[in-house]
Symmetry: C2
Subunit: 390 residues, 2 copies
């Protein structure tokens, strides 16, 4: 193991991270492979739960639907947030109880709502009248929570306007839900993925609490607040330890949501990102011209084979190599496909060892979330990202 590799800054995780790195360094891979550590998933569940206290953790399955990850979380007592019929079926097949699964996508196929209802799922997300009508028809009497569209926060992967309705519309949807025989039990929102500091939640919580308080004052019997995801992973910039972060968020929640008998949280990235690293390989190092300031480094993994979150250079992964003791220089990093859009970092180049060459192994850290499931089925004839669990 290379002594110059910077250990992870997040305390308890250092030893476990090194377990994955040690495995990758001592193993030969014939294609890009995500290595996941089951123990780290369990540890992170416990760390988040310790801070979230009475809140139910509904793991966002979309972050990493690997069977091993879900099995660990079922055994830890986690609940689940499912985005589709496929995810619901997967959770049920691994022993999750239907009472512990929420159908959290606000955009659902009618037949999938019916499937969920028949499977015993009773809690659905909604942000539009047409969705309420579909739920009323296919999941009679279900509980719904209204997803709110909240103002921008400081998240590294801020959310678009895609999900949620404005606070002004929320009460109208509650009234319509009642007319349709549904039970509007609460509100949900999302602060934005990778919200690095708990303090960044404050403004959003204030906005949501105002809607909550007003709706309850008007007689809507809200009892559930779903605080969504946003729990961060370590990508090189300091984050608060998971338990402290979660506890601070919960403290702000408890101070604002009177009558919230039930609190839900939906960590995805914050649960599994640090539990995985990708074993990759350098395919080529080149310069475009003799006087080029930057080298181009091409890896065997790119935007279409697992690293989709490099879109707009939003998520900046960390890299380790066997040459980390050498001098470093700026590189433009690209994937292996013939697609010109398959460039990972160009606006902000990455510092990599000057001696890097084709065939060198590269470890990409904190890759446990939003990688394997984003991988394309076979773009350019490359197989999907492989997954190994240790």
């Amino acid at each position: 193991m290379n002594a110059n590799v910077t250990p992870f800054a997040c305390g308890d995780a250092v030893c476990a991270q090194n377990r994955i790195e040690t495995f990758i360094r001592s193993t030969v891979f014939d294609r890009p492979t995500l290595v996941l550590d089951r123990d780290m998933v369990a540890q992170q569940y416990r760390a988040l739960k310790a801070g979230l206290g009475r809140a139910d953790i509904h793991y966002a399955v979309k972050a990493n639907p690997a069977r091993d990850v879900l099995e660990v979380l079922v055994s830890e007592g986690s609940h689940f947030d499912a985005a589709s019929r496929g995810e619901i079926a997967l959770c049920l097949s691994l022993g999750a109880h239907p009472d512990c699964i929420s159908f959290g996508n606000t955009v659902k196929r009618a037949s999938d709502i019916a499937f969920a209802h028949q499977a015993g799922i009773t809690l659905f997300a909604v942000d539009a009248e047409e969705e309420l009508e579909k739920i009323a028809e296919h999941a009679t009497g279900a509980q719904v929570y209204i997803r709110l569209l909240v103002g921008a926060t400081g998240a590294d992967w801020p959310l678009s306007r895609k999900f949620g309705c404005t606070p002004e519309m929320a009460e109208g949807l509650m009234a319509r839900a009642l007319e349709l025989g549904l039970t509007p039990v609460g509100l949900s929102f999302h602060v934005g993925s990778q919200t690095r500091q708990a303090e960044m939640w404050r403004d959003t919580l204030d906005q949501v609490a105002a809607v909550w308080t007003q709706a309850r004052a008007k007689g809507y019997p809200l009892s559930l607040i779903n605080i969504g995801g946003g729990f961060p992973a370590f990508y090189g910039e300091a984050i608060e330890p998971a338990t402290i972060y979660a506890a601070r968020v919960m403290e702000m929640v408890e101070a604002r949501f009177d009558g919230a008998e039930r609190v839900m949280a939906e960590p995805g990235r914050g649960m599994v990102a640090e539990a995985g690293m990708i074993a990759a390989e350098v395919m080529l190092v080149s310069k475009k011209s003799e006087d080029d300031l930057h080298r181009w480094v091409y890896l065997d993994i790119g935007k279409f084979s697992g690293l989709a979150e490099t879109m707009d250079e939003a998520i900046r992964y960390q890299f380790a190599t066997e040459r980390d003791h050498e001098d470093h220089g700026p590189c433009i990093l690209a994937g292996p496909s013939c697609d010109s859009a398959d460039v990972l970092y160009e606006n902000r180049p990455v510092m990599l060892p000057v001696g890097l060459r084709a065939g060198d192994k590269v470890i990409i850290r904190s890759c446990g979330a939003y990688t394997s499931s984003y991988s394309s089925v076979g773009f350019n004839g490359f197989p999907p990202l492989d997954v190994v669990v240790i």
Copy 2:
């Protein structure tokens, strides 16, 4: 069939396009499905070949690696441009001769070069010294063509700086190839995907011809010019008919590349895009607030399930519905996943019927290229894009 659906503007293709539309309108799909027409692939091959004349067409397999597409092209006599070992193996398994396959990715794994060499492939793309060294080691005596980095053109999907070396470096690579026992046979370049008018090739051809002429004057025995792809498909903006477009490009090529015994062209999009349409479905229509100017329309297919080329709204697909006789209004179009980046068109909204609602079928035209192979393995629990061939 709805009489108000605008027929395709590209002449002969209208009837065949209608064959796919008719099939989609009369079929029930339980998930998003790409419907491909074998006959249209054959027709387009013949149309391009009629214009390209003596040039060898190396179909860019990455555009659509469906077995049916490759089988049709093998039987038509097409050659193939492969991006990976996987694509080479696929072409060989369907009867393509190794002499007709070029390994066109400038970024190749060493073991894949060895595989190609053993399979009898003799022609490789290169744009860097380290790549030449890999080829010399694993494919002794191979022919190589040097990919040039050319200036920006007017393409709808312009290429980044990812591929190619500057003209100044090209001769150095030819000299290095000779030192390594390789044969530098020619040059390649790419005008940019979806270059709508043949005339847009002129400047690029001038740039490349200058390198060609100078290298030959210095004694490099160049005999192959690979003009790459860029051949357009119809996405709503006028394009020249394929034969006329190809003939105009070839005319410009013939006027510039003295001694080019061999000309290669690599259409991908231009070969298969119009031969496929996607059958999709509306999942939800909503407004974010009472006074929202735009409706949000959510489809069952998005950026991560086949429509990756909507990235930055670059490729603008055309849509047909059963309500095309109704008034239309602006919509923001989004995919079904819980990913906030899964929005297809927002900056330039799409005009869709005002009565559109959940459950309505939507036909997305010219989807035969760069869709199915981009689809994720199962992001959010949604299965990959299905493919049906008629």
